[in-house]
């Protein structure tokens, strides 16, 4: 993990422990947006992870069904070739099964 990832994760955890109890956990997804963000940043790096998280928050509104929406796994080969993949990789991932 690089410093940017650490900073982002620190910020998210801080949010979870301070602001979140106030405004309530209102996420329509599982895992929640903040947990999703931590995982996304850890898995996909600071830039892509942040973009994925932002897109997830934007989707987390009453007009979206919500539900189970895990962080998509990193595609090993592809990721190396195209590191700056578009954030829209978030929504159209299907969990295995």
């Amino acid at each position: 993990m690089n410093p940017a990832q650490h900073v982002l994760k620190g910020a998210i955890v801080t949010y979870q422990w301070t602001l979140r109890p106030f405004i309530g956990a209102n996420c329509r997804f599982h895992p929640s947006c903040s947990h999703y963000a931590i995982e996304a940043v850890t898995e996909h790096g600071a830039v892509k992870g942040a973009a994925m998280s932002a897109w997830r928050i934007l989707r987390c509104n009453p007009w979206n069904a919500g539900g189970y929406d895990p962080v998509p796994p990193r595609k090993p080969g592809l990721n190396r070739l195209r590191p700056a993949a578009s954030p829209s990789a978030g929504p159209d991932t299907r969990p295995e099964s």
Binding site: P21, G24, A25, N26, P62, Y68, S97
Partner: protein, 619 residues
Amino acid sequence: MDQKRLLAAIALSVGILLLFEMWNRGNAPVPPPRPVATQQADVPLPAVPAPATPQVAPGAAPGAPQAAGPGETAVTAAPPAIPAQRVQVENTRVQGALTARGLSLDQLTLRDYRETVEPNSPNVTLLAPRGRPEGYFAQWGWTQADGRTPVPNNDTDWTVTGGPLGPNSPVTFRWDNGQGQIFQAVVSLDANYMFEVRQSVENTSAEAVTVLPWARIRRERTPQVQGFFILHEGFIAVQDGRLTEMTYSTGRDEGNSRRALGSAWENEAAEGWAGLSDKYWLTALTRLDRNERIRSAFRHIPDAGVDRWQVDIAPAAPQLIAPGQSAGFGSRLFAGAKEVRLLDDYRDRLHIQDFDKAIDFGWFYFITKPFFYALDYLFILTGNFGVAILIFTLALKILFFPLANKAYKSMSRMRLVAPKMQEIRERYKDDPQKMQAEMMALYKSEKINPASGCLPILVQIPVFFALYKVLFVTIEMRHAPFFGWIRDLSDMDPTNAFTLFGLIPWDPPLFLHLPIWAILMGLTMFIQQKLNPQPPDPIQQKIFAWLPVIFTFMLASFPAGLVIYWTWNNLLSIAQQWYIMRLDAKAQAAKPPAQGGTGGAPPAPKGGGKLAGPAAAKK
């Protein structure tokens, strides 16, 4: 065991916070408004604006022997015996005096503002003469840029024409240096807080001279600051559209690290102003001629253990005045209260760039400024700023009701199925993957949207923060009464549970301050929390449970207006949530769902056949 340790940690943290608070207040210098019989010019003014020319050393080095300007030459052993001539300053809003010795505005009281809520308390004193601990003044002068032209200094007795200074009655100060240069300053004042000073030098000698005119604000001590991150106090400037804020402590650090340069901050710009900002008061300088570039600086001057603060402006370059010619510099000084509409007016009419930013509206300027206007409108309408706060908060809540409605609706349904969820959680606690799948299947079968989502909530945060900020910074809240015992919304609620509200005659330390409104705030917060779903994490749950207590103590010494706002906001949230839950419960009772949405006893666990794949739950 861990929880006990956690609780101990929380208790300790709260204790440290409170102790810090107490220490902070205890250490803050209390303004001594004692009338000291002062003598002029007995305190050296070591710093003058650094001339732009490099051959003249910056004047910030205290007591340096260089003849850089009035500061150094003013270090005299004995002050002159004759009292300085003073020129009265008066309009309907201010009262004060200029001193003809050293040409400075060193006395100014604001007639519309009093120090305390008591009706006969003294008016707020903004400026005070040099030599007093609370010394705070504006001064105009010149620096010799050619190293030989005698310029006026702190002991110079100027010849006064006119006076007293008031709207439409300017005063002229004149001084002849005896070597052919005649210095002049024409001071005028508008109907509010704006002074205008036109400095000029007429060169009647046969040789050209080079001087640098300047205007400065000087503060002889560090004022008591709130030290709170949402309010800026200290140096402030807008230069070419860019806002620069520097606190006193940063100013000290910057001043120390830039000691050789003589300033904590320095900038040349085509447009702008610079000054010193308090929570409610401001002194600021800007140039008069819109086509002239100015150089502005913040300075920290350590002087025998006392921090002195200075803001100065000057033309971008020294002025070369040929024989028979004259040159001038015009500047404006604002010294008064940061009334939003007045600053707006100066910004538009006198073209002082972003002058309203002297009020710390913050990052959310585009929300906070309109909020201010709305609150001000309600204030004028109702005549009570507390009532204005209540009405405005209610209006905001109504505006956000559709969003929140959706949120609370799902939240209350969530509570009804909570036992089932708990059941699933326990059954599959060894298999998180399966647990989530079950959970999503439950959501699907109950047709619940667990929440309204993060986005609607996140949208509301800046709005309510902006309101909080407006309440914190606006002068309208100052000395504004509310009902009952609240006589000043900007001050803390004076009641205290630890004295049984005045029954026990003792004066507890500040961390044992527990006023009624803070208790009400804590109660409403507690109830609101009870209506919210608990966070899943047990440690977080514990913290959650302690938050109302922590916040009650933390907000105890906050301005009462903010605590009232917070309480009212909680109360509205509770009412809203209770209303929606009741509606929802009715709807549930009207058409009993297959799974029985009673929320009472946990229903029989669902079989595996109910288990839908997570992918199915998604669509």
